[in-house]
């Protein structure tokens, strides 16, 4: 067990980034199949960010976002989050809803889009975890996805408070998926949030601790 998050070295960061690389590469492919459009991804970055700054790292606290979260809870207990601006989330949702829902009552439209987003988030994050599972040899069963739409700051409390239990920095594996063929790019971000103390388990398994 490490004493301090500050003891993360560039070797640890590289190992984590590599997981991000494979994970999101697969996630981009899966999402692309689902929506029938090209999906590109940025090269993942792994960085240490003070927990007090995780919100500012992604935007302003009151930005409206949509987040899908799944958990893996056995050998590696961890939350994974797919984060996207709320207006972009709705455009993404509509790509997989096979009918025109513009005339529907708001509440029904909302429910329908949320379940589409839950499914898309589940595929993106599940694929990410599959990559992690292949690398480690661990079986990583996941929960069903939970969707939240709210202010960025409120959503990022999950990240800050999870990392904050033991230390003051968050190791963020951040990568952005870009969906092509629309008027504007639909960028969404995957964030890995290991439970307190479990990042060390992963690094040990990868042979870098």
């Amino acid at each position: 067990m490490m004493d301090e998050n500050s003891e993360f070295t560039s070797i640890h960061m590289d190992a984590i980034r590599e997981i991000g690389n494979i994970g999101t590469g697969n996630a981009a492919t899966a999402l692309s199949r689902l929506i029938g459009r090209a999906v590109d991804m940025d090269v993942p970055v792994a960085e240490l960010v003070p927990i007090y700054e995780v919100t500012a790292h992604y935007g302003s606290p009151e930005t409206r976002v949509c987040a899908v979260l799944i958990r893996s809870e056995e050998l590696f207990s961890c939350s994974l989050m797919f984060l996207i601006d709320e207006e972009k989330a709705d455009i993404l949702a509509d790509l997989v809803i096979p009918m025109d829902i513009s005339g529907m009552p708001d509440e029904e439209k909302f429910q329908m889009r949320n379940s589409a987003l839950a499914e898309q988030g589940n595929i993106i994050l599940g694929t990410f975890l599959n990559a992690l599972s292949q690398i480690t040899g661990w079986t990583l069963p996941t929960t069903t996805p939970a969707v939240a739409r709210d202010m960025l700051g409120s959503i990022m409390d999950v990240v800050a408070s999870t990392f904050g239990v033991m230390g003051d920095s968050a190791m963020l594996v951040k990568t952005t998926l870009h969906i092509k063929g629309l008027e504007s790019d639909l960028g969404g971000t995957v964030i890995m949030i290991p439970d307190p103390g479990t990042l060390e388990t992963l690094l040990a398994k990868l042979g870098v601790l």
Partner: protein, 163 residues
Amino acid sequence: MSQPIHVGMADLVVSKHPATLITLGLGSCIGLVIFDQISKTAGMVHIMLPDSREAKNIPKPGKFADTAVPLLLEELAKLGVNRSQLRAKMAGGAQMFSLPGKTDSAIFGVGSRNIEATTKMLASAGIRLVASDTGGSKGRSVEFSTETMKFIVKTLGSGTKEL
């Protein structure tokens, strides 16, 4: 209105009148204000977690309910408040995601544990909690002005409450 002071995560700010203290985008975190209505002095803290005992070090005492409340009282005392006049208002402690059967887990229950720990700390310090808007599943932004002593709580979708 005075220029608002932003109270970031784990930050703690005290001020004499006139002051407007705000915290944006609280999820499981707590925005706690303790104020003295007579001298119009107030302090706000943005609490992230209930308990400092698991932490290896505590660079920001505002982070934990058990260290934030005593420090806030100490800082207010430095401004010369009369302790018996102090009252508290708080908001936050939401659970942003709900997964079946996960409400009590360390990760998902943090909001309700924050509420519980903060309430307990206030009670043991003898500070009366006069208003609160806590729990639920929606984020909040809060604002407190020493002019009105009102705690304004904004939630996406369901508007603004004045406590």
